[in-house]
Symmetry: D2
């Protein structure tokens, strides 16, 4: 629907704050004939860290695409001890979906995928249950069933990781995947596994948050998308949203209302990740608008 814009390069970076950082980075792009299309910077004054996202058109840029990282590293990043990454809008990330039995997030993601709303490839869906295989089939996406029990978790995760590597997966989305992922797996995809938790974290972490919300008598429920870390439900938050409930809503109604919040929050988080708008520092996520 949207006209294809020209290919762009996106630089995400952070380093200790000091005077003139914006000048150095923008000069690097300008001197090489890059036309900046968006620039966002943020300074965490408590930690004294400078964060920046800058996007410019590749068309006419003097440095060849595959050399941009090298030049930026040598001329700018090294000087300021920057942590950085460069991405190109033309590179479609490859996303793996992990699901269990509930379909609402899966459908929301696949319908966006199918209608071309996102620049992404979804080569495969992984599940610990066979329940959603028919949905995968509807959309023609290979479905891999890895049942996980007490005794086979390590080897099953091994096989899953093997599959992800084989398919050159860039990041993983847990679309209501109801199985804890082990630390080893998480370490292999740092800030590259996005989860949706069905509560307004840090309220109600762990299992059955809607039941806890009902018990506590809250008047608002929510959902939280975050990068997965070894610390359960405590990873850096990407997005959250809420919806109002009343005393007359039983738990089933919370579950139903919550589904709509979950699917939108997860899909918004995926979009931010796809557009390279997120940067994690100190367990907090900078999300550049």
């Amino acid at each position: 629907m949207v006209e294809k814009i020209k290919e762009t390069a996106i630089l995400l970076m952070y380093c200790a704050d000091r005077r003139g950082l914006v000048v150095h980075v923008t000069e690097f792009i300008d001197n090489n004939n890059g036309n900046v299309v968006s620039l966002d910077e943020h300074v965490d004054r408590e930690a004294n860290i400078f964060f920046m996202r800058i996007e410019w058109e590749l068309d006419g840029f003097l440095i060849p695409k595959e050399k941009i990282g090298e030049y930026f590293d040598i001329q700018i990043a090294a000087k300021f001890s920057m942590t950085w990454n460069v991405y190109f809008s033309g590179d479609r990330p490859r996303m793996a979906l992990f699901v269990s039995k509930m379909s609402h997030c899966l459908y929301d993601i696949l319908s966006r995928y199918h209608s071309g709303e996102w620049e992404v490839d979804i080569p495969l869906i992984v599940s610990n249950h066979p329940t959603l295989e028919p949905v995968a089939k509807q959309f023609g996406i290979p479905f891999y069933h890895f049942p996980i029990g007490k005794d086979n978790k390590a080897e099953q995760e091994q096989a899953e990781q093997e599959l992800l590597r084989k398919h050159k997966i860039d990041f993983v989305v847990l679309a209501r995947y109801m199985q804890i992922i082990s630390e080893d797996f998480i370490m292999a995809y740092p800030n590259k596994i996005i989860n949706i938790h069905h509560s307004f974290l840090p309220a109600f972490p762990g299992a059955k948050p809607y039941h806890s919300a009902y018990e506590r008598g809250v008047k608002i429920i929510g959902a939280t998308s975050h990068y997965v870390t070894a610390d359960l439900d405590a990873g850096p938050i990407i997005d959250q949203d809420v919806t109002r409930i009343t005393h007359s809503d039983p738990v089933e109604k919370l579950v139903m209302k919550g589904r709509d919040v979950e699917k939108l929050v997860l899909s918004r988080a995926i979009l931010m990740h796809l557009q390279r708008r997120t940067l994690v520092y100190n367990n907090r996520t900078i999300v550049f608008g």
Copy 2:
């Protein structure tokens, strides 16, 4: 601004659920020529409890106002082992305000009071600090300063309770009163002390919730009004609301954005209480719209 409506009676009740409760209550009012202006019922199916709020015009009602409770008790409530209360819209409740140093909730309450938005009397303001005495003076309300230290808490609370009794206070509002109230005091005003906590409970109870919210990197902050119980920040919730924040908001900005949420949530909770729309059961608040 709103035309004065005729005086009404309001019955709040609950009991074990059974067939026909609505019929019995509405017949009681109808048979005595009462014109019902609003009726709300709720059944907690898990606990099997029936809750009801019914309001009718006193004009033309056969039972004299001061006898309504007695008649209802004997003819209806006793039969169904109801817990109930009757109120009259013409009786202005008497509210005591407890404050510390922050003025935003106090101003919000007093400006509504002064403009006649609420049917309430505010005979006095109590504080553990002298800071807000000038605000009390602006609105011509007596201000009582009870400094509380390690050694005098019990006697100061004794004096406060004495003052409340003397002024026939019906309920207490803690408008950012930064001092924990002892169990003894709370027991004297069951479900009659309304607090505003500056977080989206149960997230971030206790002190400095905005600092904790910043640390955790949440994308939404909130405020919670609740009846005070002996269990700190764990009483039955009356209302909550939230506002969106971003990674670029420092703690001071959270505090500033939070103030607007706090004052509205507290004032909405007070209105619900004033209009006899709240019923507490099992640490949850039924709020009849």
Copy 3:
């Protein structure tokens, strides 16, 4: 996921307000051994009209299901000149979907349908474009293409209505159907055609509301679901919702953000309609919570 509850009867009614209406209706149900599971009433004081929705369990009810309407009409409705309807939770309404080229609402509806979230049948999808036939196929629902031009509108609508009659369609949902329906068609389905308009009505009726919103520089956009009347985009509103935008969002971003609001608002409206919670009077929709 939700335990199947017992079959219920639902009565929707309205009439001139007078004392005792609730008593008469609840007595009718109680005297016939009906167990009321929910009761909502509303009095429009300006128009002096009483509205009510009451739901009770059929199990043990003395009047046989197929006679309830007759008994209620003779014993209650006639006496008070009520307009009324009775529904049964066990009767699955039959819904027709009308779409054009955009898939987001269609996917949202079909994914709820497919996962069993709603009690509804969808026997067919109608479109003025072939674009979404593959989506219909994904879900195994017959797709009918009725191209509409200047010269064939009347006869195409005739054929559409024929199709709806043949399939015993109860109500129609326009899921971003971009073709004005003629008055004749609308009259055949009074308050039974639900539309989603992609603006916060009455702002920006008609075509290209996101472009108008951009031009006007609003800070919030929205969507509106309403029953279709002969007056374009002016029918009784069922639900609305909004989302925040900023000066930096181009029209394409408004369209994208708007899609998520549209699909949720439309699906919520459908649910309210399915649960028989809506009553239209004087171009306004009562939506019983």
Copy 4:
């Protein structure tokens, strides 16, 4: 509460977009030893206009404060045909309040003023009614009553403008001032008169929007703050917000719920203006976060 930060300079500018604008502006500041604390830029791709807000610490800046405008104009702005303004965080703007009979916005503003939440001076309150003089007195602010009838509007506005000039008023806030201001007056304060309209514009412009909202049966109401232009209720929007209503809310309830939205939206708009975060172009307001 917030620690005083060092004095800063704020530059707001716009011009035709071209490559390198950010570099030139940031170099100007960096070369003169300025430490940038925040930078926001926006490109309107349709109109091809570049907008920027940049803020830096004056401490250590080589160019003396009173010469910054001159240097920037000669070295940068002239080259790119920029429209620009420079402000200093230490200069407290002087705001005049215009009110009529309703106090909620006035109280909200004065309580923020009184508690030191805003960096602003309020030398006077103007009204076409004497109603709110007591509120002005509570806060010790001079109150000027200018009754306006059919025959004296021009001369009264003349006197008001005289008063504003005498008190060196920088901008005017219409805090529910229910009198149309003439074009002549508006022209004297371009983008310097902020109004709050009690509807979600462009829905329900003009008088009695809550009545119109009730009639139309909307499910959400709102408020809109905007700069005043000669075109009634059509000026550039600064902020908007909404609140949910139901079929059971009579007009008086809409008015009551609306007041809370109005006061917050107006106060947020004032803050954005005070912090020099707004830029008007082509009847749209850029609001830099």
